[in-house]
Structures are given as structure tokens and as C-alpha cells.
Subunit: 153 residues, 2 copies
């Protein structure tokens, strides 16, 4: 069991939630992949190895539980209503490849006005946090000339 | 008819799409409000004045048509799978008030690495565009001490 999975397991014990086989499979997948998958992608990947253990409903129910426990974050890309899941809970941004759809994390600096804590916009908006979605091309697609184009997201 | 609505009407004529009463009501609402409403919010607002003219299905169908014509943009906030609609089509960011849920637009500068066109992340991601979602407090809520808290988004 990885350190992250052990910590998640301990957090579940503290909250009185059982670490079931299904929850462990979902967390293992998320910790290993860090690919910001949707519930359907998680289901497809786990179902390939454990067809009798997980249904899509099981995945949805357990993702909700893990989210409520603060072990998993649900988020949406700017152009999609499909929920994606992340075990990286700290502040970060998303680099989205327009060719293959891969989502990488990036810990970039804030734009200057936000760094300076300035009020933003015409009406004096006071910023507290910010997240960027940056679209472009990942290195693999840049090298291959975007041959793997699927426009997945 | 406002200039924007006239331009939208001309764009529809060019594409061979009729400017129906329903489409005009939706566009008028979006151009007037600039509040990034959901389909349900648009329906509620228009239905109050025209209960026999628009159903929620009509709203959804017409929003899809207007989106396909490039007159309306559909987007999602980071924490919500509810589609929101915008007639401001140029590059801009969103200031989201955590108290009242109001969404303002902001034309802020890019963070320095993006301004410099640098490759981002550990794997040389090449950025092309970026959008920020900035959470904080709008001036009205800051002045009122967040008395209008609804955590709508």
C-alpha cells in the first residue's frame, strides 16, 4: 500500500468509513494515473480487470463518498459538463492538450494584479483564489505533429 | 433592436436560420443581463413575462442553435456541471463571488510565463490560450458583509 493510500485509509478510519475493495481500487487508480479521469473512464479501466467487483453506479457512489471525505476533488473543464476527478488537492492549474485531451497539472505564478492583491474588474472584486485552464499542445503531440489527434476534451 | 441583436439577426440570416420570437427573447435577455445564466435561469426569467411562448425544452433547443451559430458560448465553472451561457465571445476571465454567486468578466493580463510564450510544466507543454476562474468577493457583498450569502455557485 502506498503512503498516499495509507493516509487515505487512515482518514477513512477516522471518519468511521470502511475502506472497501471498491474504494481501494478507485483510489489506487487515481493515485497511480493522475490523469483526471471521468467516472466512466475509471469504471472502464477497473472493470477490465475486475468485472464482477465494480458497476458504474458503484463508481459514482464511491466517488461521492471519497469527495465528501475530502480525499478526491471533483472538477469540470471550461467546455465540458463531464465531472473529472483528482487526488491532487492543493492549489494547481490544468494544462489541457487540444490534440490528445491529456490534462497535466501546473503550479504556475499568479498574474501580477492577483499577486499584488489588487481589486479586479470595474467593480472592485476582491480575489481570494484563482485557477487557470491553459489550452495548448503537450510535448508528445508537438513531437508527433498531433498525429494522435482525438480532441477528446 | 440593439446593435448587438441586429448583428446576431444578420448572422442568422446569413446562415439561413430564422430569428424566431423565442431566439430574440433569449438573445435580448443574454445581451441585457451579461450575468452568465444557466438555461433554467433564462427560462425562469423569460417565462415570468411570456408563459405561453417558452418552455424549458424550447430554451435548450434554441441555446444549442445559437451556440452552433457562434452567437452564444456555453461554459462550465470549475465546480459545477451546470452549463452557463455568455454572449461575450472574446477572450476574458471570470470573477466568481463566493457569497452571492455573481459572475463578472475580467480582461486581466496573463501570468509572466504565458506572456513570454514559455513551455509550461515538467513536460514542455506549449500554451495557446488560457482562461482564469477567480473566486473572491464582489464589491456588493464586501460592503454588506456578505449578508446576501447564498453560495449559489
Amino acid at each position: 500500500m502506498t503512503i498516499l493510500l495509507k493516509e487515505a485509509s487512515q482518514a477513512m478510519v477516522r471518519s468511521g468509513t470502511r475502506m472497501t475493495a471498491q474504494r481501494q481500487l478507485i483510489l489506487e487508480y487515481l493515485f497511480e494515473k493522475l490523469s483526471h479521469p471521468s467516472a466512466e473512464e475509471i469504471h472502464k479501466a477497473i472493470y477490465a480487470d475486475y468485472p464482477k467487483v465494480v458497476s458504474i453506479t458503484t463508481i459514482y457512489n464511491n466517488l461521492r463518498t471519497l469527495k465528501e471525505l475530502g480525499l478526491v476533488r471533483e472538477f469540470y473543464l471550461l467546455n465540458s459538463g463531464v465531472a473529472r476527478y483528482d487526488t491532487r488537492l492543493g492549489h494547481h492549474h490544468h494544462l489541457v492538450c487540444g490534440d490528445c485531451g491529456r490534462i497535466e497539472d501546473w503550479l504556475g505564478p499568479a498574474p501580477t494584479p492577483i499577486q499584488q492583491g489588487a481589486a479586479l474588474g470595474d467593480n472592485g472584486f476582491l480575489p481570494e483564489s484563482f485557477t487557470m485552464e491553459i489550452r495548448g499542445t503537450c510535448q508528445s503531440c508537438a513531437v508527433s505533429g498531433g498525429q494522435a489527434r482525438s480532441r477528446a476534451v
